[in-house]
Symmetry: C2
Subunit: 363 residues, 2 copies
Amino acid sequence: MRIELTVFLKEKEKQILAFIEESEVQKYIQPKDLYDAVRAYIFRPAKRLRPAVLIMACGCLGGAEELAIPAAAGGELFHTWTLVHDDLIDNDDFRRGSPTVHRLMEEAGRTGFGLDESQAKEYGRHIAILSGDMQHAWAVNLFIDLAVKKKLDPLVVLKIISWLESYVIGSLLGGEALDVQLGISDITGGLDFSEDEVIKMLWLKTGVLYEFAGLAGAMIGKGTADFDDPEVKAVKEFTGLCGIAFQLQDDILGVLGDEKTLGKPVGSDIREGKKTTILYEALRNADENQRRTILQVLGDKNAGADEINRIIDLFKELNGVDYTKQLAAAYIKKALPCLDPIPASKYKDLLLQWADFMINRDF
Amino acid sequence: MRIELTVFLKEKEKQILAFIEESEVQKYIQPKDLYDAVRAYIFRPAKRLRPAVLIMACGCLGGAEELAIPAAAGGELFHTWTLVHDDLIDNDDFRRGSPTVHRLMEEAGRTGFGLDESQAKEYGRHIAILSGDMQHAWAVNLFIDLAVKKKLDPLVVLKIISWLESYVIGSLLGGEALDVQLGISDITGGLDFSEDEVIKMLWLKTGVLYEFAGLAGAMIGKGTADFDDPEVKAVKEFTGLCGIAFQLQDDILGVLGDEKTLGKPVGSDIREGKKTTILYEALRNADENQRRTILQVLGDKNAGADEINRIIDLFKELNGVDYTKQLAAAYIKKALPCLDPIPASKYKDLLLQWADFMINRDF
């Protein structure tokens, strides 16, 4: 990552977390366990790419960085609540290197109320549901701070929230619901999926939120309530396409990445049976034997290191990894000209550095 | 109920449901199961008191009824998503006379995907979580329609949403979390609770949302963004106090009410072990023997009709029911003078009829 981008990310993270820390909404959160649950993820180490992109998008259309902070904070918290509910649904144990919220609260139920195993699990799940609900509301409030604390035109703020709470959330929740259904079809049927379906899921679960970061930042920067403003559309398309490339690269790192740098075990995507373009392309090029080997290990939560390494080798050998790299690069190539109509600035330059980082990163 | 109030409720219900039906947000909801889950409760028979109160509050400060429809619809949908998550957490089977969302989706998992018992239960729970999340977002969008479709001052709209998404939701979710913890303390400890705690729960789980209906309606009616406007505060205090009386009466009906009129079995509150002022007062006046009888049946999901009837008789005999009736009447008596500064109008009259209905209703 270029040094300017690194510095920018660190500086904005500090400001965003400070803004969240100062938010008055927290005084309405009770009892203590719910309060702790609501704050669990947001301060854990993370890349903070989405909020940074939102601020760059604001800057590249002439808005002050400061103006976009509430939306950057709100977007980050919005992303966070979807993680809390997704982690619960997927029954994951860790997020950002520490226990997931439902696991944390399971522990709180055990130690705080002396609950037995099954009562504690239930307590953890219940508080996790309420926690995501509260974060969702808090995120909306942070967006409202755009008008209340930064004096942005209230109509612009309402339009941004309406996009988030209709198209964006419909996509995110639809993606998660389709994921749930896809998981079922693995249990009950074979492994039928198309590349289009994989790309659609990338879009629903990741692209849409990056697109929103571009849209919201651009609307704030320009002070417009018009979704169809050509500059807003240009920035939004750029960040959306880069968002798909981000997720494609994430899938590559999920196979090739280093455990220490990533914070999750090598091969976890394979053990989860995640549907990626890597898997799709590898299966397309596999002979009967190779196909059988892949499908045997895929989704096996107890697969050993040897088996995982065999699959990783097959993914490389059968062009799955290279194909996905090329696909990610193609999305970035398609994204770059979107910014042509935007005048040169420090922020445009940062957006271009960010686009480059999307496909040239190892964490 | 006086005929004017009945007519008003029916007419407003029709308009609110039509407004919800027309909302464009629905086109973003996928896949089909999630779409069905999101729409499950809202069109089922209900009294629609909260949205009606919001419209009366708007009217009594000079606003057109039509102006408040999006907020009335939004408030009703907001209430609905909390029901979906609460029903899931409480593991309830029925809502408004039909299966709860997680049970409906459990059935959809069985018939649509051929899932077995435990997979279907999980599917039902997962779609119910996502369904509440989507309804929450949709509700926010309906409030935004105040500005977009009815041209209300966007700052007024933002202020209303910010109150809803901080104080109101913090109270509702805090109430539900405390309920979860209270349920645990029943399992692990005795039955220690104070009357203050019962009243606090009434406030968190019901009063706050009625108070909000008054606040939002009044702000819309007057077109003000000022929470501290004296007329807004007057209406808000009135509806909040009546909301507590509403819930006290609900508790009485939960003990004495007729199964057919209420749509839930006689004694269900007793079988659930619900903490009410009825129970509190009865226990306060009980001798050792009576206390033991009550605690034996309370919270026993399989209690028979005879046992339930014995408890109901004790609740009456030990002054629990009368005490709660007097308490509800006292809240209404305290509420009425709040409206003194509000000029006479059809809507003020409807609000007074509604207050009377709060404590003189059998459904």
